[in-house]
């Protein structure tokens, strides 16, 4: 018996010793003393409460979207007003983690138990020129199978800027109502740090590197970070580099890469690897372990000069620290633009609502789209979400941050992501997302040149395999 007690004691001591051995201060990341975790979560808390008290009369309009606190909270908050305007219907919102949204859309459309589903850009359709090389994307399958309602002739479409909506159409019909576009080829920067160090927003790549060097030399602040553990937040900067340097010219590059007329090792594409290798040297140590959901809060703590993320994260940053002063600037290209403008953003379509043709409450779904398309509601929505640029005409937002983006949106291009294909069955290096985590500067095994080389090999192998398969 005595021995047993001794054992317990020993074990307990061992654990405490292990704890203290590990401590010695967190040196890897920005100390987040100012991050008020509670502030971000209170909002979500109260909305969960509202959810429970959703009105139960009428037929439910079930909206499915991915987890984005601002959108979900706003949608839940207008449930009462919507019910008042359309007493026959009431709103229920289901959210799923964004990594699961494709799967859940698929299964819930299969089950015909959802009225509105959320998509992003309808990009990379299977067309005649690429039909042997790529799979049909999910959205195209839904439309081809007649599972998404054609919204083109709905009256609420008139409230929107048709030019923008048509950019996300399929065969000149509109199947999804886009709520807003986002700029995401830029970087957040901490205004206080920039002014303290006397830094200006960079207009060329060299200036950008100079800014990074200046912060690094000062030594007090983290230069740059991202939510790299999720891979895509870093990989999407391939798009930023492409958009900044080639604008809409990326469409051609993407097609040529797929057909084999162009290679990753060609200078045009090699540029992406070179820039990222350089970019990565300024990322904070341990960046590949930082979860995307964790990242905005770390920037908000105020110790980081720049943070790589899409403009949609602005509300998350504010939520974590309402006092922080920050801005957003487009990642500059190597050369200044030919048209003399400052660097511009690449944009993409964010939250877009579509109505499945098998929706149990299609009438309610259309009623909701009509409701949210109302100029006043729509403006309030964008103000609440605080990350989207409007797709309706003549909308004035009260959001300083969004208005500050306008300068970079004078001549935006559609984001490179929409044009970079990966052939079916391609290997891990050439999956169309540039797989930056293989780079040595990010703790991986390869140099940029080697990675580009391997991507080419993967594309070659895939093309050869496709050929033998199709014959």
């Amino acid at each position: 018996m005595k021995l047993r007690k001794l054992l317990c004691l020993l074990l307990a001591l061992l654990m405490i010793a292990a704890l203290t051995a590990c401590s010695g201060g967190v040196t890897g990341g920005a100390p987040a003393a100012t991050q008020d975790g509670a502030a971000g979560t209170d909002g979500a808390d109260s909305s969960a409460g509202d959810d429970a008290s959703a009105p139960a009369e009428g037929t439910s309009v079930d909206v499915l979207t991915w987890s984005n606190a601002a959108t979900v909270e706003y949608l839940k908050s207008i449930a009462d007003a919507f019910h008042e305007a359309y007493p026959d219907h009431y709103l229920t919102v289901s959210e799923v983690p964004s990594a699961e949204i494709d799967q859940v859309i698929q299964t819930r459309i299969s089950a015909a138990n959802v009225d509105i589903v959320s998509f992003q850009t309808f990009s990379k359709p299977q067309e005649e020129w690429n039909q042997d090389s790529i799979d049909k994307p999910a959205w195209q399958q839904y439309i081809d199978e007649g599972l998404l309602l054609d919204l083109t002739d709905q009256p609420f479409i008139d409230n929107y800027n048709l030019d923008i909506l048509m950019g996300n159409s399929y065969k000149d019909r509109i199947y999804s109502l886009n709520m807003g576009t986002v700029a995401y080829t830029g970087l957040f920067y901490n205004k206080a740090i920039f002014s303290e160090l006397g830094l200006e927003i960079p207009k060329t790549w060299d200036e950008f590197i100079a800014v990074c060097e200046a912060v690094k030399a000062d030594g007090r602040y983290t230069v740059l970070s991202a939510g790299a553990a999720d891979q895509w937040p870093l990989n999407m900067y391939s798009n930023a580099i492409l958009s900044a340097n080639y604008g809409d010219g990326v469409e051609e590059i993407g097609q040529k890469l797929l057909t084999g007329e162009m290679k990753h090792t060609d200078p045009e594409v090699m540029l992406v690897y070179d820039c990222m290798e350089q970019f990565a040297t300024y990322l904070e140590p341990g960046v590949t372990g930082i979860a995307y959901s964790d990242a905005p809060g770390r920037f908000a703590a105020g110790n980081m000069a720049m943070y790589a993320d899409g403009s949609w994260s602005a509300p998350d940053i504010l939520r974590a620290n309402p006092d922080i002063e920050f801005g957003y600037f487009p990642l500059p290209g190597i050369e200044p633009r030919e048209d003399g403008l400052d660097p511009q953003y690449g944009i993409k379509y964010d939250l877009s609502f579509a109505v499945p043709t098998n929706a149990p409450n299609q009438e309610g779904a259309l009623a909701f789209l009509t409701y949210i398309s109302d100029k006043e509601v729509y403006t309030a929505f964008l103000n609440a979400v605080a990350g989207f640029s409007p797709t309706q005409n003549d909308i004035t937002l009260d959001n300083e941050f969004l208005n500050s983006l306008n300068e970079g949106l004078q001549s935006p291009c559609l984001n490179a992501e929409m044009y970079i294909y990966a052939p079916k069955g391609v290997g891990e290096y050439g999956n169309g997302q540039f797989s930056f985590l293989y780079l040595q500067t990010l703790g991986g095994p390869l140099t940029g040149a080697e990675l580009a080389q391997k991507a080419d090999e993967d594309f070659e192998t895939a093309r050869a395999a496709l050929e033998s398969l199709n014959n």
């Binding site: 590990c22 698929q106 999910a138 140590p285 341990g286 069955g425 891990e428 703790g443 993967d458 398969l469």
Partner: protein, 328 residues
């Protein structure tokens, strides 16, 4: 551990004259009562298993109501030809490494701990057994979350240990590293299931008579000799069972992979690929790309490849175990 129930359990094929016995109850009543179970088993187990083979020859999609057709061996051809060969090899290799390392390490550790915990002198051995077994009941959702917390960067204890104790300047983020994520997932699988194998070994060890040991020790045998000459041969059947369970379990199960890395960072095994191809999931293809989860016919083909793999490995390992038993 009493294991009372166990000793009573005799193999079903023990020679008895039971079928000649008077039947106590009318057959039709007995059968009627079995029917729900048989039906459920047929509908939800046998039928889907068979259908997997059938669907693997179609291009059926997850999109409801879409047309599908018979496409012969195309799915298999695609799997073996189109899937970038290097990546196909990598993912099959990964599946093999996963199964092999889990089977070997888990059983070796389990056997070691079982032998130690079987020592009657050891105080606290019941407590230790309870602790080692606990992750088995915690399940993948809980274990994966524990794992993610312990390995989190840069505030997790492992990261800080590497940084402050081992003095590594820039420790890798284990769970999002191409080099370390996979070993970490294997470790999680072993951590979760070691107790399970251990308990099976313990049951076998407890059936060995203490007199045997007593005699051996009096003859001057060392612990090491006793283990090889007496213990191991006597518990060989449980080694076989544990090997089988670990192989099947590790080849088919993907809960931990799904919950820890979603198959990213080169951690996807064939089982995970089946799930990801059928139901979608970020980064879970062989190539680490995302899949829409639309290609259920193709997923069925992957599933069949996995099944054949499990079958072959099971048969081979059974043969090896039999051979080793005979050699002893």
């Amino acid at each position: 551990m009493e294991g009372k129930a166990i000793r009573n359990a005799s193999p079903v094929n023990s020679p008895k004259r039971l079928h000649k016995h008077i039947r106590a109850f009318p057959v039709w009543v007995v059968f009627l009562c079995m029917l729900p179970g048989i039906l459920h088993y047929t509908i939800f187990r046998l039928f889907p298993s068979t259908m997997t083979a059938v669907l693997s020859f179609t291009d059926i999609s997850g999109v409801p109501g879409s047309a599908w057709q018979w496409i012969g061996w195309d799915n298999y051809r695609e799997f073996f030809i189109l899937q970038n060969i290097r990546d196909l090899k990598a993912s099959l290799g990964r599946t093999a490494i996963y199964a092999l390392s889990v089977t070997l390490i888990q059983n070796a550790l389990a056997l070691l701990m079982a032998v130690i915990l079987n020592g009657k002198f050891l105080k606290g051995r019941n407590f230790a057994r309870a602790v080692y077994f606990m992750p088995v009941i915690l399940g993948a959702a809980v274990v994966s979350t524990i794992w993610k917390l312990v390995f989190s960067t840069p505030t997790g204890p492992v990261y800080l240990f590497m940084q402050n104790v081992l003095g590594i300047e820039n420790p890798p983020a284990i769970l999002s590293s191409y080099s370390y994520a996979f070993p970490a997932v294997i470790a999680a699988q072993i951590w979760q299931n070691m107790g399970y194998s251990m308990v099976i070994f313990l049951a076998a060890l407890q059936n060995i008579s203490a007199d045997l040991y007593e005699a051996a020790y009096i003859d001057g045998a060392s612990e090491w000799q006793v283990f090889w000459k007496i213990t191991l041969p006597l518990i060989w059947s449980s080694v076989t069972v544990n090997t089988l369970l670990a192989i099947i379990g590790s080849l088919q199960s993907f809960e931990l992979i799904m919950t820890i890395t979603r198959g990213q960072f080169n951690t996807s095994t064939l089982g995970m690929m089946v799930f990801a191809t059928a139901f979608g999931g970020g980064g879970a293809t062989a190539s680490g790309g995302t899949v829409a989860g639309m290609r259920q016919g193709y997923a069925a083909a992957e599933s069949m490849v996995l099944f054949v793999g499990v079958l072959i490995v099971t048969i081979i390992s059974q043969a090896i175990m039999k051979k080793m038993e005979a050699d002893q």
